[in-house]
Each structure stands twice: as structure tokens, then as C-alpha cells.
């Protein structure tokens, strides 16, 4: 090794020695610093420990320390308050504090604590000493000693009972709100700012024919919805355009009216949702107003209809208030009254028109106050002073509260009718009087005509009596002829009187039993031996005049007897039901009537066979009576073999 090399080595060693010295010196300094620091740290630790102790003692939340068996080692003041125990006095195990339904959850959390060394956000119920149940939130961790061995567990316990209750009630009110929206009668669509559906309801799906549950629509994009739905609406383009317009403006729109093709009418509201000045979406609301709309439309139509009726009707209409002051009149009333509208409005109707100082009108208005409606006739004078008769139909007028605020009267001028009625009455009276007079006249005439007949008869009788011996056979026969002629004359007068007496005026209208009527008649009528009368049916009961109907049967049966020339005379009485009428028939096998006389026999003084006991009035009386009973009479006959008389009587 060269000197150089040795020198180098020496120098290096020297340098090393010095460096080591320096290092030792530094080490020494450092060591001293470390000691000082450690001293400081220990002090600090003590300080911190006591600080922590203070914090734990004083924190608002409860602080609990327990050993690994769950025996509580420490409760801070808040914990003591929360649980109600004083652990200095009585030992407490946390098992005892766990709400029984939360036990399982508590055990799971405890396992977690052991395995992971902590748990967070444990929320469960606990019992307090007084048995009260409280909701608590717990964050807990394991406490280790220096050897990293777990020796205890500590936890911060926060009483969250009130929060829980608030949350629950919030939940409840939210669900209430949700069900309200779902069941709302309006269709609701809530969209967010990106036109995604946030909420909608059943009604919305119904209105827009969307066949899914409203919940399934959540999150759906609505940007194409208007295009899809437009076919439901009358004006498709306008529906789409309007939606776009509204969306663009983002301003509240209320009461847009939409007519659907199915006839429904919807009312739509648009409400933008602005939160903190930022647009967050919008709410569409659709209401079905078809009913209201139609109702108000028909109401409007009705109103127009009635207005035009009132304006154009031929009846005068007047509305008055409770003081009888005229509020409204129509054109017809102006024509009827002769006044102009200006002359009438505000005036009292009773004073203006009435002749009796408004007495009748006041009485009638009192009835209106009581809510009564009626019609009455009123004698009035119009503007020109003419006396007119009005028929007034009045009714009370009510306000919306149902109070009488006046009345409405409809006026018809019945003056012409009235005078016609008066004329008619007079005519009727006159007619009645002249009918009466005629009747009297007939009686007097017949009396005056009959009286001389009686005298002649008496005189002829005396002539015969007083000259029995003096008169020859021819004279006596002539006297007989005079008396026969007198009888004929007498019969004629009676028949004329009878005929003139048959009128509706003196007719009874009662139920008449034809069966017994005919039976009685057959007892009193003279029916010769060789004539047989048969009745084929039970004769019905009809409404009519007993005596007159008897006259009919009597006449027809008598005729059938009188004009029978056969050895075996046959008279058949029958009846047939003809709906509204009974058709009676009286058939004989007598001499018959020639066709040209079939109508003539019913005319007065048309006796075909001039005989002692036929005046020619009988059948005309029969016809008159049948007609009086709204029936008809006719005959069928064959000359030489018989006649059937038919007549109908109303049931």
C-alpha cells in the first residue's frame, strides 16, 4: 500500500471520527429534545384527557360506556336523564334497556360492533326506567387497552323520539295527499323540468284513454304526448299548438276550454312550479265540465227561448214589485193598454187601469204575497178610457232566496169574448123563453082546439038522445060519422102536441131497463089472439128517458100489430151488440111497406094507411126520440110479407 493510499485512508478515518462525534452530539441533542417533547406530550395528554372528560360529561347527547358484558360503567348526565338510572346507586345492563321487538336488531348490531370495532346510525327503541319507550340513535365503538385488547364499548346515544314522530306524521300526510291526488275528480299531471312525469292519477288515465295504472307512468317522457293525444280533441292542431305555447311561456293559465270528439268538454289549468326562482316543472289539471257547460248552455237557450216568447206572445205581460209598481211590460201589453212603456214603468197598475180604485188588484196582490197563483177577470179602462175586460193570470215572483218580490201577470183582453158571451147568454135566454112559449102555445092551442070537439060531441050526443025516434037510420049513421071524425081530430091534436113536446129540454137521462120496459108494455098493449110476440134476447139496459123510450116501443109494436093481415101474426123483438150501440129490431110478418115509402114513413103527416087510429105522426115521433138518444132508425120491408124496423140506441 502506497503512502498516498495510507494518507488517504488516514484522512478518511479522521473525517469519519469527526462525523461520528458530530452525530453523537446531534443524537444527544435530539434525545434531550425528545424527552422534553415527551414530557410536554404527557402534560398535553393529561390536559386533553380532562378536557375530554369534561366534554363527555357536558355534551348534550347521552354518552354511555359499558363493559363487554353490557354492564354499564358510565352514564353521563344526559344519559342518566335519558334512561332515568343512577348507576352509582344501581347497576344497569343494556340488555334490560332494549325494546323487546328490536332485540334481534340490537344483537346484530352488537356483533357488528365486535367484529368491526364500531357501528353507526343504529336506530331503535329503548325502555327508560319508568317504562317509557324512546327512539334513540346510537353511534358506538370498542375501547381497547394498550395491548389492543377490547376492554369496553362506548356510545353516543341521541334521543330521536320527536323526530321519529314528526317523520311518521309527515309520512302519513304524504300518503293522504297521494291518495287524494289519485282519487281526485280532476285529471292531474305533474311533470318535472324535463317533461318527465312525476305524478299523475287515475282520472288522467281515464280522460286520455291511457290503459295503464297511473303509477306506471312515472318517469315517462311527455314531450310527444300532445301529438299522441290530439286525436281525442275536436281541434287537433290547436290542442298541440296551445300546449306548446303554454309550455314556452311558463306562465299560469287557468280555464282553457277543450272540446273532445266524444262530446266532453274539459277545462285545463297550467301551473308552472318555480322553486327558488328556478323552473322545476309544471302541473296540468283537467276538469270535466261537460255537465256544467251543457247546463249553462241549455240555461242560456231556455232564457232566450222564453225571452222571445215573452216578447212575441200575444198576451200582455206585466211584472210589478210588492208596491204594485210596474217594473216590466211586453209589447203586447202596450197594445192592450194603449200606453207607452215610459208611461207605465214605475206607475201603480191598480191606479192606472182599474175602475174599482184598485180594490180587486190589491186583493189579488195579497194573494201573491201568500204565494198563491190564480186567474181572475178584471174590468179596466185603457188609456183611451174604453172599458175593457181582461183575464189576468197572476203568479208571485220570487228572488233567489225564495222571498216574494212582486208578481207577474199575464193579461188577455177578453172584451170581445165577453160581449160574445153576453150575446150568447141573451140568445140562450131568448131561445129558452121562446121554447117555453112555444110549448105553452102548443098546449093552449091543443086545449083550444080540443074544447070545441068536446062541445060538438056533447051536442051530437044530445041531438041523438033527444031525437031517437025522429031520426032515420041514415041520419043516425051520419051522427056516428061526426063522432068518429071528432075522435080522429082529437087524436091528431094529441099527436101534434106529443111531437112538439119531444125535445132534449125535458128529457131524463137515467138507466132504463128495456127488458122490463117491453115486458110491461106487452101487458098493457092490446095484442090479438092470432098474433104472437117473441123476444129473442135479453134486452139490455140503456141510458135514456124511460117514458120516451117506452113511446118508441109502444109505437113500433102497435104498428106491427095494427098492420098485420096474416092468420098467424108474428112479431119478433131482438137486439144486437154493435160496439158503442145496441141495435134493436122489431120484425113483423104484416102487410109490408113499398120501397118508395121507406124513408117517407118517418116524416110527419105521412101515414100510409089512412085509418081511424092513425094520424101519421107516430113514426115521426119515434124517429125524433131515437135521434134524441143519438141513435138511427131505418127499416127493411117486402110488400106483403113483412117489415123489420131497426133502430140503435147509444149504450
Amino acid at each position: 500500500m502506497s503512502q498516498d493510499q495510507i494518507d488517504i485512508l488516514k484522512r478518511a478515518l479522521e473525517r469519519e471520527k469527526q462525523a461520528r462525534k458530530a452525530a453523537e452530539k446531534i443524537l444527544e441533542e435530539k434525545s434531550r429534545e425528545l424527552y422534553q417533547t415527551s414530557q410536554k406530550l404527557e402534560l398535553l395528554l393529561d390536559e386533553k384527557s380532562s378536557q375530554l372528560q369534561g366534554v363527555f360529561e357536558n355534551i348534550v347527547d347521552a354518552y354511555v360506556v359499558m363493559d363487554l358484558n353490557g354492564d354499564v360503567l358510565k352514564f353521563n348526565e344526559a344519559a342518566a336523564r335519558l334512561f332515568g338510572y343512577d348507576i352509582e346507586q344501581e347497576p344497569v345492563n343494556v340488555i334490560k334497556l332494549i325494546y323487546k321487538e328490536d332485540y334481534e336488531y340490537a344483537m346484530v348490531s352488537y356483533m357488528e360492533l365486535q367484529s368491526k370495532g364500531f357501528f353507526k346510525d343504529y336506530e331503535a327503541r329503548v325502555y327508560t326506567k319508568s317504562g317509557e319507550v324512546k327512539w334513540v340513535h346510537i353511534n358506538a365503538s370498542i375501547v381497547y387497552n394498550r395491548d389492543k385488547t377490547p376492554i369496553a364499548a362506548q356510545g353516543i346515544v341521541r334521543d330521536i323520539t320527536e323526530q321519529k314522530i314528526a317523520a311518521e306524521s309527515l309520512l302519513r300526510s304524504e300518503s293522504r295527499l297521494a291518495s287524494l291526488i289519485v282519487n281526485l275528480d280532476s285529471a292531474v299531471l305533474l311533470e318535472d323540468e324535463n317533461r318527465k312525469i312525476v305524478l299523475t292519477n287515475k282520472k288522467f288515465c281515464d280522460v286520455f284513454n291511457i290503459p295503464v295504472d297511473p303509477d306506471q307512468l312515472k318517469g315517462q317522457d311527455c314531450s310527444g304526448a300532445a301529438e299522441q293525444s290530439k286525436t281525442l280533441f275536436e281541434d287537433e292542431d290547436n290542442f298541440v299548438n296551445r300546449i306548446n305555447e303554454v309550455l314556452e311561456k311558463r306562465q299560469t293559465v287557468l280555464g282553457d276550454e277543450l272540446v273532445m270528439k266524444n262530446g266532453k268538454i274539459l277545462e285545463r289549468d297550467f301551473v308552472p312550479i318555480i322553486k327558488d326562482g328556478i323552473y322545476r316543472g309544471h302541473l296540468w289539471t283537467y276538469r270535466d265540465i261537460t255537465l256544467q257547460k251543457n247546463y249553462s248552455e241549455s240555461l242560456e237557450k231556455q232564457k232566450q227561448k222564453y225571452s222571445s216568447i215573452i216578447a212575441n206572445m200575444n198576451l200582455g205581460l206585466v211584472e210589478v214589485n210588492n208596491d204594485d209598481e210596474i217594473l216590466m211590460v211586453n209589447q203586447s201589453f202596450l197594445e192592450i193598454s194603449g200606453y207607452t212603456e215610459e208611461e207605465l214603468i214605475g206607475k201603480k197598475g191598480g191606479k192606472l187601469f182599474s175602475i174599482d180604485d184598485g180594490k180587486t188588484i190589491s186583493e189579488e196582490n195579497l194573494k201573491r204575497q201568500k204565494g198563491e197563483s190564480n186567474s181572475y177577470e178584471l174590468k179596466v179602462k185603457n188609456k183611451h178610457g174604453d172599458v175593457r175586460y181582461w183575464l189576468i193570470s197572476g203568479a208571485p215572483n220570487y228572488n233567489l232566496n225564495g222571498e216574494v218580490i212582486g208578481s207577474i201577470g199575464i193579461h188577455l183582453d177578453i172584451t170581445d169574448l165577453k160581449s160574445l158571451e153576453y150575446q150568447k147568454e141573451k140568445l140562450l135566454q131568448k131561445l129558452e123563453k121562446s121554447n117555453d112559449e112555444l110549448q105553452e102555445y102548443a098546449h093552449i092551442v091543443s086545449h083550444d082546439l080540443k074544447s070545441p070537439l068536446r062541445s060538438i060531441d056533447a051536442l051530437v050526443s044530445w041531438l041523438r038522445e033527444d031525437n031517437k025516434e025522429k031520426l032515420d037510420a041514415a041520419s043516425l049513421q051520419n051522427l056516428d060519422l061526426i063522432q068518429t071524425t071528432l075522435e080522429k081530430m082529437e087524436q091528431l091534436i094529441s099527436d101534434v102536441l106529443n111531437y112538439s113536446s119531444v125535445s132534449a129540454d125535458n128529457s131524463e137521462n137515467a138507466e132504463v131497463d128495456i127488458e122490463s120496459l117491453v115486458a110491461d108494455l106487452l101487458k098493457i098493449l092490446y095484442i090479438p089472439e092470432h098474433i104472437n110476440v117473441t123476444i129473442h134476447n135479453v134486452l139490455p139496459k140503456v141510458m135514456g128517458d124511460q117514458i120516451k123510450l117506452q113511446q118508441v116501443f109502444q109505437n113500433l109494436i102497435s104498428n106491427a100489430v095494427k098492420f098485420n093481415d096474416k092468420d098467424n101474426g108474428l112479431i119478433e123483438i131482438d137486439v144486437a151488440d154493435e160496439g158503442k150501440y145496441y141495435r134493436f129490431s122489431i120484425k113483423d110478418n104484416g102487410i109490408g111497406i113499398e120501397p118508395q115509402f121507406h124513408d117517407k114513413v118517418f116524416k110527419i103527416f105521412h101515414s100510409l094507411k089512412k085509418s081511424k087510429d092513425s094520424s101519421g105522426i107516430g113514426l115521426s115521433i119515434v124517429k125524433k126520440i131515437v135521434n134524441l138518444h143519438q141513435g138511427k132508425i131505418w127499416l127493411e120491408s117486402e110488400l106483403g110479407s113483412g117489415t123489420i124496423f131497426y133502430f140503435t140506441l147509444k149504450k
Partner: protein, 136 residues
Amino acid sequence: MNKLKVLLIEDDMIEVMKLNRATSSLQLNHTIIEANNGEDALKLLEQKDKLPDIILLDLNMPKINGIEFLKILKSDSRLKYIPTIILTTSNNQRDLLECFNIGIAGYVLKPLKYEEYVSKIEKLLAYWSINELITT
């Protein structure tokens, strides 16, 4: 049989003859007093001591007619007790009703035939002659 005093009120001369002849031919002893109209009859009836037992009254007469006469008769306190029988040709129902309404003792229709008349008068007088009548 009582002998009746009959007042016949009748304007027709032959009718009066008829009654007289009938009673005489029937050989009845009744007294017939005649009045040609209602006025005459009322005069006769003023003599209250010579009142008839019955009155036969025709309806159709001039001046006071039968019904008017009947009304006057029935409103008199004494005369109303005299049975009054209507003897007429009128079978007017209205007259019949009114007469019975006012108060009559009978309503007899004059028949056409004289023989029948005699028979009716015979029965009528026979009936009233067996009746008790108010005489005072």
C-alpha cells in the same frame, strides 16, 4: 048521500050545459052554481054563509085564469078548505104539477066523448058526496 052544492067555474056555455044535463040525467040532487069566470066566482064566494061544498074549476079562462084563481082561493083562510077539482082538457104536465103544488082535491081531464064525461062526473060527485066536508 049528501046533497052537494057545486060551484062550476067555466066560461064555455056548452060545458056548463054538459054538467047540468049530466047531473039531471043522472037524477042527482046536487045544486050547481055557475060562474063564467074567476072574478064572478070570487064575488060569489064573498058570501061566506052561502059557500059551495066543492068547486069544479076550468083552467083556460079569460081574465083571471084557473091557476090564478086557485092561488087566490088557497090564500084565503076560509076558502082554502073548499075542495077544488080541476076540470080541463089540458094534460099539460106543468099545469098538473103547479095545481097540485098550490093545492087541489083532484084533476080530471074532460074526455072527448060525452058518455065518458057523464061517467066521470057521476063518479066524481059520488065520491065527494060521501066525504065529510068543512061547512062552517
